[in-house]
Assembly symmetry: C2
Homo-oligomer: 219 residues x 2
DNA sequence: TCGATTGTGTGACCATGTCACTGACAAACT
DNA sequence: AGTTTGTCAGTGACATGGTCACACAATCGA
């Protein structure tokens, strides 16, 4: 068990919080979770409002054939709207949240959450914005899924996920999930990219050899 | 200009509103709009919170090829989350809202909206629930788009949109938009349904001849 | 070292979206 | 009535993408 962390101070998401609300939250400890831990599955009971302090969570939807789509990632300072939906009494649906790195999270128990919503303007604003921007991002995902070609989505995700040296530490399957496609499709398209000299393929990762070439594919 | 309507009384969405908040809203008049009116387009300024009192609004997203998807419909007592996003300062994206029938709407000006959010628990709850259930429905749409076959989506929309006698007063294009597909695809699939004896095709509408047959396709 | 697991490559096939048409029908106009 | 115009539906050809069924190579544990 870690020492009580100063998550409230570190979390700039709640920086604007009033002193009174701050006091109420001060007692909560951040919980540490290992990478790979499943935060919730379809049908789970929701016990509180989840705030990610450090690390990254992926929220996935799985189809009947086993194909998966990454709905969104939760980064530090963000919350899991899925659980918020549950707290507000909306039935949930089939999505799964997985810790993609080691995590520190804070769980605000439902009664405290409800109380803060009523009493803290800053907290309310925070929750509203979280909702709004998540809705926004889901709509963008929908738009990409419905209207954008694989080639473009793939190029975009490669550029998004590469490090400074241009290396993308993802398997083809990871990339396929991220863009809502199938592994085989990604493999084939990557091979094409390879033949065009845009990338070099290795087992488990990809080297981008022409960033500008990929960027041209996005427009 | 219609007489001041009693929209607040008629709208059971805000039935639980406190007396004080009710007073603030009492001065607002419902606005009547004709069918076909475009409520907003991408890039429009948002002046207030929109509540539909009667009629139905369709919110569509259009792709570069001209293909359209119905994101959701707004029915009486519901709000347009798109405008709410705007009010909360989230940039909006390319969606369009069209009156599908004649409408009565109420627009709560931004300052009053903000004030109600701060002072009325019931109003806040209403807005939160609106957000939550819209997010929910958008996710379901995403799920259908990503994982469900045309046949199933088409059968579902036919059953959803038929009247008591089994007639669906929609063109193939309407149905295609509703399920996020293309007109030609819907035409072909409908012809197949016809050959199987599930529907009879006419110009401008469709007669369902075997409800149970369509239901079997959904599962 | 020997499986077992994981990541990738491939071919075949089906479902769907797109393009480019055609014709059928209905409302409006002369 | 005939003509025009616009909407709606049917169709063939083709490209893209998802699914299935494999093969094979790299990696990792026991």
């Amino acid at each position: 068990m870690p020492a009580v962390t100063d998550w409230l101070t570190r979390s700039n998401a709640l920086a604007a919080l009033e002193a009174r609300a701050r006091e109420r939250l001060a007692g909560l400890k951040a919980i540490e979770l290992p990478a790979g831990k499943v935060l919730f599955r379809p049908g789970d009971e929701v016990s509180g409002f989840v705030l990610v302090v450090s690390g990254r969570v992926g929220v996935y939807m799985t189809g009947p054939t086993g194909r998966e789509i990454l709905l969104y990632s939760i980064t530090p300072g963000e919350t899991c709207v899925q659980t918020t939906l549950g707290l507000l009494g909306v039935e949930d649906y089939s999505a799964e949240a997985v810790a993609e790195t080691a995590l520190e999270i804070v769980v605000i128990p439902k009664p405290l959450f409800m109380d803060l919503l009523d009493t803290s303007t800053a907290f309310r604003t925070f929750v509203f914005h979280a909702f709004a921007s998540r809705l926004q991002s889901i709509m963008q995902l929908l738009e990409r899924l419905a209207f954008t070609k694989i080639e473009e989505r793939l190029a975009a995700i490669l550029l998004e996920r590469c490090d400074e040296t241009g290396r993308v530490r993802n398997t083809h399957q990871d990339l396929a999930t991220a863009i809502g496609s199938a592994r085989e499709v990604v493999s084939r398209r990557l091979e094409l990219f390879g033949r065009k000299g845009l990338v070099a393929l290795e087992r488990g990762h990809i080297e981008i050899t022409s960033k500008s070439g990929l960027m041209r594919l996005i427009g």
